[in-house]
């Protein structure tokens, strides 16, 4: 019995040592961090476009950013105008990808509050909803069910993934009802309007440019990413790679965290054991506080950090006076689709591609946003844009 065990242990030892040697050997100085964006996820033209859109003044009412649009090209919707009896309380159907993260939960509440207002005024009748719980197949059949029912006067879709949902959206378009897509896109332009904030490149660049500006050349930056392979997140990272690649910052690497606070804290702690980390770039704000706590617990000064407009992070930022920025993936976009639906059914023009503004929260606006959201729970998003809705603040507090 002893020999095989010794052999096994020896084998394990050898393989561990070998992996250690091979990986540790050649250029461990920068651990080979690639700062060229992956071609699959990087579209140079779109990147330049989004960066430029950040500086364009959006059209529309200034105090209602969810109705603003950047360089809109208006689409004629007179063919969808409902007349006579049809125009009274039309049924609007919404296929939701999921409510599986706090950002979507916040937006979903805002949308429901907006719907109540429109129902009160008679612009919308029944609001029929299906939730696909992040399952593509479920969402495809949800959309098909709306088409088959035949009484949806407008169909709103928040797709769970891009390529897989494209045929389902096309089928919805063919049904004749106006289709409104928002948040993630699909590979077709059959819908009446596609509503989204500027996009992932702008988000990632906002965060990375802030770090480049605030940190001395040669400072070390650690990137924390949630998952590989999700387009909105990959675009953020691709933009950051582009910005960091042109800078003097030393990017230590990136880690996938699944947005799990315990993993984030563990990974950051380990990086701090190896050496100093001066900046943290995150592709989404989930768990930003856990990353900061890793610095606290290790007794190191806070890094310069990019989080998100999630309140737990913004409160920590204010309390500890950290050098930070909160890039925003505008949560108020959840109001726009239902408003667009009622505009379309009234025959009003809407932008074909409805690009909503997407402004990061900076130090200067921090106190203002925290004051406005003082009674909101910590997993709430500052730019949710529902302060003027009748359900405010109870609807968002009590979830």
């Amino acid at each position: 019995m002893r020999i095989p065990r010794a052999l096994l242990a020896g084998g394990a030892a050898m393989s561990l040592l070998l992996t250690a040697c091979t990986t540790d050997d050649p250029d461990s100085a920068d651990a080979g961090q690639e700062l060229t964006p992956d071609e699959e996820w990087f579209d140079a033209e779109e990147y330049e476009n989004q960066l430029a859109q950040r500086d364009i003044e959006p059209e529309g009412p200034e105090d209602e950013p969810w109705l603003q649009a950047i360089e809109p090209e208006m689409a004629d919707t007179s063919e969808y105008k409902l007349e006579g009896e049809d125009a009274e309380e039309p049924t609007v159907c919404f296929s939701n990808a999921s409510v599986s993260n706090p950002w979507r939960v916040t937006g979903w509440i805002t949308m429901q509050q907006q719907v109540e207002v429109l129902q009160e005024s008679g612009d919308i009748g029944e609001f029929r909803v299906s939730d696909a719980a992040d399952d593509d197949n479920q969402q495809i059949s949800d959309i098909q069910a709306f088409v088959d029912a035949g009484d949806c006067e407008a169909i709103i879709i928040s797709p769970s993934t891009t390529a897989t949902l494209t045929p389902a959206v096309e089928a919805a378009c063919e049904s004749g009802a106006p289709v409104i897509v928002f948040d993630r896109g699909v590979n077709t332009d059959c819908m009446v309007t596609f509503i989204h904030p500027i996009g992932g490149y702008a988000y990632g660049a906002d965060a990375a440019e802030f770090l480049v500006e605030e940190l001395e050349p040669g400072s070390t930056v650690l990137a924390l990413r949630i998952l590989p392979g999700v387009d909105v997140l990959e675009h953020r990272w691709a933009a950051a790679q582009q910005v960091f690649g042109d800078s003097e910052l030393d990017v230590l690497g990136f880690e996938f965290t699944e947005g799990d606070g315990a993993q984030i804290k563990d990974l950051v702690t380990q990086h701090l054991q190896r050496g100093d980390v001066d900046g943290i770039w995150m592709d989404a704000g989930d768990g930003a506080v856990a990353a900061l706590e890793a610095f606290e617990d290790a007794g190191k000064p806070y890094p310069v950090i990019s989080g998100e407009d999630e309140l737990s992070f913004m409160r920590k930022w204010q309390e500890e006076d950290i050098t930070a920025i909160a890039p925003v993936y505008s949560n108020f976009q959840w109001r726009t689709p239902v408003l667009a639906a009622s505009q379309i059914l009234n025959g009003e023009e809407v932008p074909q591609e409805w690009v909503l503004p997407q402004q990061p929260v900076t130090e200067a606006e921090l106190d203002d946003y925290l004051e406005r959201n003082a009674d909101m729970p910590s997993l709430h998003y500052a730019k949710f844009g529902g302060e003027d809705l009748p359900g405010f603040p109870d609807a968002w507090q009590d979830r």
């Binding site: 394990a12 561990l16 979507r104 996938f256 606070g261 315990a262 702690t269």
Partner: protein, 334 residues
């Protein structure tokens, strides 16, 4: 398969323990643990300093506690897949009910303990009385908890934990010379380990192992199998509750807390040489298995391997460890 015959004298217990450590399926895990640490130290000498080691201990403590709970269930011949979901549920419940109010900390912790005990009791009774295989029972519990929590919170967690709630997982005895902070989590894990060791040496522990080895024989010799196993499930759920307090304390609330922990715990126990199907293995080795899993992932991190490789490695470990144990058993039993 009569190796777990009940020892009669303390001397024999000690000898049994030593022979298990050195000669049983559990010995390998200690060799592996030492080896992994040696490689980590070689790559990154700063990890050998006491503060780094204690930070590692603090972060590994919840898994060690989960592994102890999983050990009781596995050694009794069952499996508990619900612990990951239970940890997630408990942290979310705590955040929602405490909602940042310090004064609610203790009542909510008591409620969590009661909830944990209830989940364990349901798992145990459904498995033993209704005779639903535990892999199905606990898979069901895992899904029920996962869904119920999302239903209750509207999809994502809300609320906040209090400072007092976070202290066991995050804090410690501060400002000690050389080592800095001595984490509460480490002390709690040590206490749990000592209690578990005492329990396995008690009449209950021996009955538990005998039940896992051969439940018919155990029943004939007077053990109430259903009660023994139900208690094991309750212990597992209670320890998962303890782990959830440490995990919530360590890193706060996120939507993903607890995900995949059941497989981490099973990997740890199996790596510790505890035989699936029950009856063999020591709790100490299961705890060492937990440390080894954590150390291995730390090593991967030190090697800049992507963390997405973790599930693959975990899967390989489970298959290799069980295969190794099976091969060892088949050469031994005739």
């Amino acid at each position: 398969m009569t190796r777990t015959a009940v020892p009669t004298a303390p001397g024999r217990i000690a000898r049994e323990a030593v022979s298990r450590l050195v000669g049983g399926g559990s010995g390998t895990v200690f060799a592996l643990l030492i080896l992994i640490f040696a490689v980590i130290f070689a790559i990154n000498p700063s990890f050998a300093q006491p503060p780094s080691m204690l930070a590692f201990a603090k972060q590994a403590a919840p898994l060690v506690i989960l592994a102890v709970g999983q050990y009781f269930v596995i050694v009794s011949g069952e499996l508990d897949l619900s612990v990951g979901s239970l940890v997630g549920a408990q942290v979310v419940i705590a955040a929602k009910l405490i909602d940042g109010e310090e004064s609610r900390t203790v009542p909510v912790i008591l409620l969590m303990i009661a909830f944990g005990a209830l989940v364990g009791l349901v798992n145990g009774l459904v498995t033993t009385v209704l005779r639903v295989p535990s892999i199905i029972t606990t898979l069901g519990t895992m899904l029920v908890l996962y869904g119920a929590i999302r239903l209750w919170t509207g999809g994502a967690p809300t609320g906040a934990l209090s400072e007092a709630f976070r202290r066991p997982g995050r804090g410690g005895i501060e400002d000690l010379p050389v080592i800095g902070q001595l984490p509460w989590a480490l002390l709690i894990a040590l206490a749990v380990g000592a209690a578990a060791l005492a329990l396995t040496r008690s009449p209950y522990g021996r009955t538990l192992i005998a039940t896992g080895d051969n439940d018919t024989a155990a029943a004939f010799s007077g053990a109430r199998v259903w009660r023994v196993r139900t208690t094991a499930f309750v212990l597992s759920s209670l320890l998962a509750t303890a782990a959830s307090i440490l995990i919530g304390g360590f890193a706060g609330v996120t939507a993903q807390v607890g995900d995949g922990l059941e497989f981490m715990a099973i990997t740890a126990v199996v790596l510790g040489g505890v035989v699936l199907g029950g009856g063999r293995g020591t709790v100490i080795a299961a705890m060492a298995g937990a440390l080894t899993v954590e150390a291995l992932f730390t090593l991967f991190n030190q090697l800049f391997l992507p963390s997405t490789i973790q599930p693959t490695v975990q899967g390989l470990i489970i298959i290799a460890a069980v295969g190794y144990a099976a091969r060892q058993r088949s050469t031994r039993s005739p």
